[in-house]
Symmetry: C2
Subunit: 326 residues, 2 copies
Amino acid sequence: MSTQQGMKPYVIGLDLGGTNSVFGIVDSRGEIKATTAIKTGGYDSAEDYVEACVNALQPIIEQVGGIETIKAMGIGAPNGNYYNGTIEFAPNLPWAHTCVVPLAKMFSDKLGVPVALTNDANAAAIGEMVYGVARGMKNFIVITLGTGVGSGIVVNGQLLYGSDGFAGELGHVIMRRENGRPCGCGRKGCLEAYCSATGVARTARELLATTDRPSLLRELNPEEITSLDVSIAAGKGDELANEIYEFTGKMLGEACADFAAFSSPEAFIFFGGMTKAGELIMKPIREAYDKQVLKIFKGKAQFLVSGLDGASAAVLGASAVGWEIQ
Amino acid sequence: MSTQQGMKPYVIGLDLGGTNSVFGIVDSRGEIKATTAIKTGGYDSAEDYVEACVNALQPIIEQVGGIETIKAMGIGAPNGNYYNGTIEFAPNLPWAHTCVVPLAKMFSDKLGVPVALTNDANAAAIGEMVYGVARGMKNFIVITLGTGVGSGIVVNGQLLYGSDGFAGELGHVIMRRENGRPCGCGRKGCLEAYCSATGVARTARELLATTDRPSLLRELNPEEITSLDVSIAAGKGDELANEIYEFTGKMLGEACADFAAFSSPEAFIFFGGMTKAGELIMKPIREAYDKQVLKIFKGKAQFLVSGLDGASAAVLGASAVGWEIQ
């Protein structure tokens, strides 16, 4: 029986986002064997949501050979707490924004397999360790650059959860103690307020408003500029857009220098839409890091872009949480 | 044989400082059974130093019943690398300032017991876990406030060494990115430049020079003011001296708020001479932390002063490294 269990070839991954819930059935090499999705909203209760999920899962579970082939399920979710298997007060989830939902247990009860849950950035870090560029690494930091800035920190081969399950909020270290930008967390000067996709767009608006320098970005309605617009303009050689990436990368590199003083990782791995800007963002990150980091750490850390396929990266990360269940 | 080994009741601790090398033979409760010391300097080579150490140790080893009663030896040393058991390019050690000394192996070869070595702040953290206020804790950060600011970070019950053995240099996170004070590390704005004993004395000199406010500290030669003088003046109700502690504590509290975003510890433990100032320093630390920390961490961490006896704290920390050898 235990041998058979050891041989179960698949895990289910659930990337639980504010809009969509995407499922994948994944093998140990990170190959997605079957996939499906439902809308995350539109349910009055967590029970209704879980039931809709299980209904959507049944056909793809059958497709890979039935529930007997499934070792476990992993969930990456906003405000996910690994220790308790709960989603706690997630502002973007109508059925979880005022309460603590024991989502791991609810899925486990319905499906009859072990279920683990963590936040999306931690899931990304586990994904890199299991299938991505961090295979074989024991100390690394994944930084997710999306609507916000998240992080998953691996130390001694283990995800750093801290005393309460919420460690690794590196988007909320303070980078500007004077005149810092307001952050969504209610404080000022956080890394996220500058280096998220939203932060990049804001940097663009600020530079356009406070200078009269020419830029392709002036053709757009300032309120509608996104980090993608900045990336496209920079790709066309727009100087102002390039400067925005240099500003953003410099701050990320300086932040990483502080993170090195904490856990001395062998790699920093960047994950999420903004990494599509490639060297536009990675080069200033590396340069600022090399300039700023403490001498004993110089030249030791690699700077990498996620090795998980963009479109399915979050599902892969979530599924990897399933493989990590002991 | 293995049972007998399991019962060996003592470890040797060596607190290897720039001036003195202090030894203690310690039982599992942290009681020091015998102690001795030699000068650290005055030796041409590491071999000579180790031989002098072993000669000094022989009588106290006999005193506790011979080498058969010794399970292991732990060393806390500047620039100590746990992974390699080496001291690397330690500027204050004449026999180690230009080279890598395999000190753990050298002691182990001479004494015939396992020897482990780490830096002094990490030794303090292990000491708190084994004998001090962190007993039973799995996630905490020790911050040493001395000539410099050091740190030992414990995560999942393990010291955080990182990829190279040098993790936990929290004295060198940047707290002032504009107009930062020069730090001994060659950079500017580090926590250590403000919150070490040296930093506190410098804050005093700056305040005395840039204001004409009255203070007991004006009776002293500015160049000779120490953090102890500031503490004494503050204890007498000197307003300026109190302000210096408030400034220092505020910065430490803000730094701890960033550290919480990293590893979400259950406690911050302060260690070293400056903690003698008691609430003068601890109160502003707690207040700044409560004001600055991310909402999800609010009210979760304790702020403690080291539970190791002041005079022998460093030796106890070093000895605890010996108990941790598997």
